[in-house]
């Protein structure tokens, strides 16, 4: 699993003896389900340097650029790509595709 490999690599680079937690940004459009990720994390960590660590997930809402309002707008629903203010269709996604390890708690 890429998250575990990435975190192991980063921990090794920083000379960590133990990883306590991995902080992840997860966009609602990333195509990954938070609960599935949490439940598989423990399994993926087994037998690695990350065994026993926590996965802390920060969910990122979908932020689009509205061409009519000329500004960023946060979508309430991923079933309707329209500006929540003026209802214009929006296609430019600014945030919400993130699947990024942002920080780690290490010892």
């Amino acid at each position: 699993m890429s998250i575990v490999e990435l975190a192991e690599e980063e921990a090794a680079q920083r000379g960590a003896v133990q990883v306590n937690a991995v902080h992840l940004k997860l966009g609602r459009l990333a195509g990954v389900v938070k609960d599935a990720l949490l439940s598989s994390y423990e399994l993926a960590c087994e037998g690695t340097d990350l065994q026993g660590s926590r996965l802390v997930i920060e969910e990122v809402p979908i932020v689009v650029y509205c061409p009519a309002c000329q500004g960023p707008r946060t979508l309430d629903s991923m079933q309707w790509f329209a500006c929540p203010e003026c209802k214009s269709p929006v296609s430019e996604v600014l945030h919400g595709r993130e699947l990024q390890v942002v920080a780690m708690e290490i010892q």
Partner: protein, 235 residues
């Protein structure tokens, strides 16, 4: 003592790097790469089989086919008498850029105008993996229901074109094409929606024309700009 360190690394960065290399490679070779995603059984293979057979007289085409376990799809596509290669993913529910690269590295197809990449039947995981394609096509068969785009908005949102398949069955299953189109437009405003019947051949002309003009448009842009806005990671 525990310390908090900043990392900021994309989890799929390795895939994105390989996908960028592939996109450049396709562009340099004059090959237009098209990936196909859909749920299992929506007619990807039949659609591709028809497409390859229709294109073969005019274009150099080849297909890579992802499947969990069997090589049945590759055997079917090979009937079109074009180069076909199977990528068996085992337990993996999607294709990754490295699999495409590995498949291409050991495959002598000669120069290609179009390369088709049929992903594993799945509407969830393939949406996260850029394969270096120029065009991502999502198929939706009339038997699946009009609300599929709302149930799987991510895959529809990352696609460049939607194709409604099995239109010859539309009446029998009381498929509401206008409703399906409305739902697609909700999750991906402005996306072109084509209607086809791979079996009867209806709508295939529009599809081939779409492909030809998409390839021409791609050739017109510079190599550096050959990215797909829908898929680039903004992080």
């Amino acid at each position: 003592m525990t310390r908090l360190v900043e990392v900021r690394q994309n989890v799929l960065k390795q895939n994105d790097v390989i996908a960028r290399e592939l996109r450049q490679r396709f562009h340099d070779a004059g090959t237009f790469a098209v990936s196909l995603v859909s749920s299992p059984g929506s007619g990807k293979t039949a659609f591709l089989e028809k497409t390859l057979a229709l294109m073969r007289p005019d274009y150099r085409v080849a297909a890579l086919v992802g499947d969990l376990a069997t090589e049945n799809d590759a055997a079917r596509l090979a009937r079109a008498q074009v180069p076909v290669k199977q990528i068996t993913t085992g337990t993996l529910c999607h294709l990754e850029a490295a699999m495409v690269r590995n498949a291409l590295d050991n495959w002598d197809t000669g120069p290609l105008d179009f390369l088709f990449i049929e992903n594993v039947g799945n509407l969830v995981c393939p949406s996260s993996y850029d394969l270096g394609e120029d065009l991502r096509l999502v198929l939706l068969s009339v038997t699946e229901g009009e609300d599929k785009p709302l149930k799987y908005p991510t895959i529809f949102n990352t696609a460049d074109l939607a194709v409604l398949t099995k239109m010859d069955l539309a009446e029998a299953v009381e498929f509401d094409a206008a409703q399906a189109d409305e739902n697609i437009q909700k999750v991906r405003p402005g996306m072109t929606v084509l209607k086809v019947s791979s079996k009867k051949g209806a709508g295939m002309d529009d599809w081939l024309q779409f492909l030809a003009s998409a390839r021409e448009k791609r050739s017109a842009v510079t190599a550096g700009a050959a990215t797909i806005p829908g898929r680039s990671n903004p992080v």
